[in-house]
Assembly symmetry: C2
Homo-oligomer: 278 residues x 2
């Protein structure tokens, strides 16, 4: 049984500094944040970002994860994970850190799960020059939640107990055997326990909607190979609006973008991932 | 005086394996491929990709750079550059390598210029499911070349002697003090010496057009902090069509996307960069 604590995003992504090796941390991956295929990539990115923040000892009230670029090397499993950090640049506006997540196998070998580069820095404060408004979509109350989906597809609509996601009716056709084939999903995201979003929670929003390949009736699993996210603002309280889209879907791979706006209509994150059968 | 050899893309990005340290290579950055602000980022990515290909000893006829994700730490200068590689994963479809570019300062300190993760793999061969056609734009012969630009702005239209770029008349307004403010540039790219494009040349195309901030009359320099490129196909011979765009431009930073199509209309590269005053 997993406790309510496991479903709390902050608790699930916490790291503990190891005293034996500088720049090394421990965390624990709960099965709540995963599927049979592995632990959710957004959670892994957040764990990596929390470790790199601790490693650079940045002042949390001013510095946030800014750009996170990760290669997913092998599927992560529930259980202990070790985080190794190496600060490679300290600047006045950004620090850049290399980070690696590893897990022990049953026969005690250390396997690398993820290698990433993470910068922390000050977020947007300067005046916008060109920042288009988010698309007008159906409000969360009229969208499809996991509980609304037909039985067989409910699991696919969202595998994470710690988050609350909603899809617009126009984009939920795939769950009713009628995929829209538009190449984008619109929806909403919030943490399930009512906690307001912060820059780290944005990393969970990136992976929360169904894979965009579902919009073309392809409900198989395409593991993420590479994901880069740029966080551009501290999100306002409330729902996050999410659009995922693709311009490059083939039978064996996809390049999928995500855009996240806060409740003030500010674009607070842009991400892109490359997913492929490997 | 720089020779014709310096303006050849393949010659400019060649690397030589060092025998004293495994996985280490030397290259030489020509001022032809730079500006006062530093060497072009696309060239640096191509140098990194050539070194990682050599380090992994991948069969060049089957494996190509697939995802390249780099942090630009300090501005690169003309002259010798050392490339350090570390292969972190060997799979049947992808290999992943960490790479670092360093240069010596005048007082003999080694400064890191770029840290990147590069995967090499097989490119698109599976059937497309959703791959929209490129936008219909003015053909190269009716576009604006560097030679067509007014005197004061000619330098800005393209700083690289080794490439030939064209901007559509609709997108070249900034060069005539009349920026279009649409948030995108359309144009064409080819290597200046007539060499047909390959996956490496795509990395040069990413950075070739003017910064998208120019489209809003902001012709100052925003250095690239992070750039990720996904190469999805081996380009057909001929011109490459390029679109750059932004949805997030502020006074002090920009997130800029690039899409590159080959002469068959295939989307062969998607990239995104975060550029900011640091």
């Amino acid at each position: 049984m997993e406790s309510a604590k496991s479903a709390d995003f902050l608790a699930a992504t916490s790291v503990v500094r190891r005293t034996d090796t500088p720049g090394t941390f421990d965390s624990h991956l709960s099965p709540v944040w995963g599927t049979a295929e592995g632990i959710d990539g957004g959670i892994l990115l957040a764990v990596a970002a929390r470790a790199t923040a601790a490693a650079t000892a940045v002042r949390a009230e001013r510095f946030f994860p800014s750009s996170v670029s990760a290669f997913f090397l092998t599927a992560s499993r529930p259980g202990p994970v070790r985080i190794h950090t190496d600060v490679i640049q300290r600047g006045s506006r950004f620090t850049t850190t290399q980070v690696s997540l590893t897990q022990k196998t049953e026969d005690d070998r250390e396997i690398e799960r993820l290698r990433a580069l993470v910068s922390h820095g000050t977020l947007a404060s300067q005046a916008p020059v060109h920042t288009p408004l988010p698309p007008a979509i159906t409000p969360p109350s009229a969208c499809i939640a996991r509980a609304d989906a037909p039985g067989g597809t409910a699991k696919r609509l969202g595998h994470l107990a710690g988050i609350d996601i909603r899809l617009t009716p126009e984009c939920a056709g795939w769950a009713f055997d009628s995929p829209s084939r538009t190449g984008h999903f619109d929806g909403w995201f919030r943490l399930a326990n009512g906690r307001d979003p912060d820059p780290l929670a944005l990393l969970a929003a990136v992976h929360a909607l169904p894979p965009i390949s579902f919009d073309f009736g392809r409900v198989g699993w395409l593991p993420t190979v590479q994901l880069t996210a740029h966080i551009r603002g501290f999100p306002a309280p409330g729902w996050l609006q999410v659009r995922t889209s693709t311009k490059a879907l083939r039978e064996d791979h996809v390049v999928e973008d995500a855009e996240v706006w806060d409740s003030d209509g500010e674009l607070v994150l842009q991400s892109r991932q490359f997913a492929a059968f490997v």
